[in-house]
Symmetry: C2
Subunit: 261 residues, 2 copies
């Protein structure tokens, strides 16, 4: 069995949310991952498959995917380069550097940084780590469902799985994990904030849509276009996916409710 | 194997603390326990051993031990009573009630509440759950070291284990866990805040000392007298225990450093 970089995070029941929902609500504590988010599952898996004989990795995310790439590369003994746009806060740059990554600033928006990351991957022969759109990422993310199933024990079956969508990588991974767990018919509630709602926009339009801008506060979590696979899953009937929107304020209140528990 | 109530929490390396210390610093994420702290390890074990045929449990802690007792009792299908002094904040009372506990207010300080809890245990035939001074608690707490050893893998050996001391229950449990792991000679650094320093005071005096008052901000974590076993461990040479004090401000800065990571 290959070593992996993520940890098996606790699955905790939220008393206050269970009371509000009228049924047991469990939280998968992915904030406890070494890189701070679930992204390490897919990024770790992808790097193990693609980067073991690489000269290094390059990623264009200043968010959780970039942190995961920096962490995984450090553990693999590989150099990591994270390309970010000039709008990236200094704190984010410092954290990436603390994880041992070289941070390169290129352009004003993410698309510029991503173009530079792709160029570096080509010219420097580095392994490109996409933030959400790759089957190996989804394969890695699927482990979150396997762990939850093991924690709930045999015979348990969730009524629904709720997750957030940025570019759709977690959604694709969870759908895969549900299939593997024999839970293919468990509905997935895909949450987005208004202004970072590329998945919802695609479903409404019946085709992939590119947002003009991310106007939600969830800037570094948002993607302008959802990955094609996520959109296809919503159309194909392979999975039951319910797309829901909340405002930034509603999302913030939910976080506060959890922290106040 | 008996069911237990705690979860195997992640062991995470803190990049910023490792950099500062010049050696790898790992954090055992006990904040992810279902009841919010490590106390569930010992309280769960004690209740399994003593309360399975009980009419209910009673505890006198408005802090983490009370939350653990309420949680464990709920999972065991037993009524829980938590007796707290009138100085207890309403938020604490509400959280205990959310965990299904009956909260009884008795007296002005913890000693009054504890006397009432002991009286209830006697007259109502309830299982008394002490917050820190019981061998079954220490036996349960020892599991935290076993998990850390498993996470570090064979051959690894910590240079030191750092923990905080309130009444000394975690200290007794960790010393036991270190012995079980073959790490009996690993030094334990026992941290207290100034004004909640009953362990340090006992070491200085060469005997158990009862503090006049808890003057640290860490009110519900402090005990006026450390448990006898913790003091004996520091004197007997069974373990290498280094007692250290920090101010509330220094402790707060350490927490902020972690959160800022």
């Amino acid at each position: 069995m290959p070593q992996h970089f993520h940890v098996n995070t606790p699955l905790l029941e939220s008393v206050s949310m269970s009371k509000m929902a009228g049924t047991a609500v469990y939280l998968k504590m992915e904030n406890c991952q070494p890189s701070g988010s679930f992204k390490i599952r897919g990024v770790g898996h992808l790097c193990q498959q693609l980067a073991s004989r690489s000269k290094g990795v390059v990623c264009s995310s200043g968010g959780n995917a970039g942190m995961a790439a920096a962490y995984v590369a450090r553990k693999m003994g590989l150099p990591a380069t994270v390309v970010v746009p000039s709008s990236t806060p200094p704190l984010v740059v410092r954290r990436l550097q603390e994880q041992g990554a070289a941070v390169k600033v290129a352009g004003k928006v993410w698309d510029d940084a991503n173009a530079e990351a792709l160029r570096l991957a080509e010219t420097e022969q580095l392994t490109f780590v996409p933030p959400f759109d790759h089957p190996l990422l989804w394969e890695g993310h699927a482990s979150v469902v396997a762990e939850a199933a093991a924690a709930l024990g045999p015979g348990a079956r969730p009524g629904a799985v709720l997750l957030s969508v940025g570019g759709g990588g977690l959604l694709c991974g969870v759908v895969r994990g549900l299939k593997d767990a024999g839970w293919a018919d468990v509905p997935v509630i895909a949450m987005e904030t208004v202004g970072a709602d590329c998945f919802n926009a695609a479903i409404k339009a019946g085709e992939l849509v590119t947002l003009d801008d991310i106007t939600s506060e969830a800037k570094c979590l948002g993607a302008k276009t959802v990955c094609r696979r996520a959109f296809e899953l919503s159309q194909s009937g392979e999975a039951t996916i319910i797309s829901e929107l909340v405002t930034d304020q509603e999302a913030l209140r939910a976080v506060q409710m959890f922290l106040g528990q």
